[in-house]
Symmetry: C2
Subunit: 65 residues, 2 copies
Amino acid sequence: MCEANAYLLKDGKETLIMKSVDTLRPEEKGIYIQNIFGEQKTIKARIKEMHLVDHRILFEEYENK
Amino acid sequence: MCEANAYLLKDGKETLIMKSVDTLRPEEKGIYIQNIFGEQKTIKARIKEMHLVDHRILFEEYENK
């Protein structure tokens, strides 16, 4: 399977926010993500970088200090 | 390998713009994509939807009529 793990970068630290993400869709309220287990989340962040071969999506908070 | 094919939605039609995308990174001038063969492109579009299990990234032009 080719899903990816989603991490959020905040204050220089990465936190895993969802494993095995399949679907990602920018929406009005944030970025909607859903994984292969049916878990859903809308996160208020932007995409910083994705590396699909490494199964990695990195999000970044909107506001940086 | 878990790369995805990138399509651009324009006037209701999808066009394949890059096969086997590994890296994706929003930048100032657009979205930078690079595939596993080292090809690079910066596209002036936004992400509409991604389905990683289906190996699919769909971009959409900025301006919609």
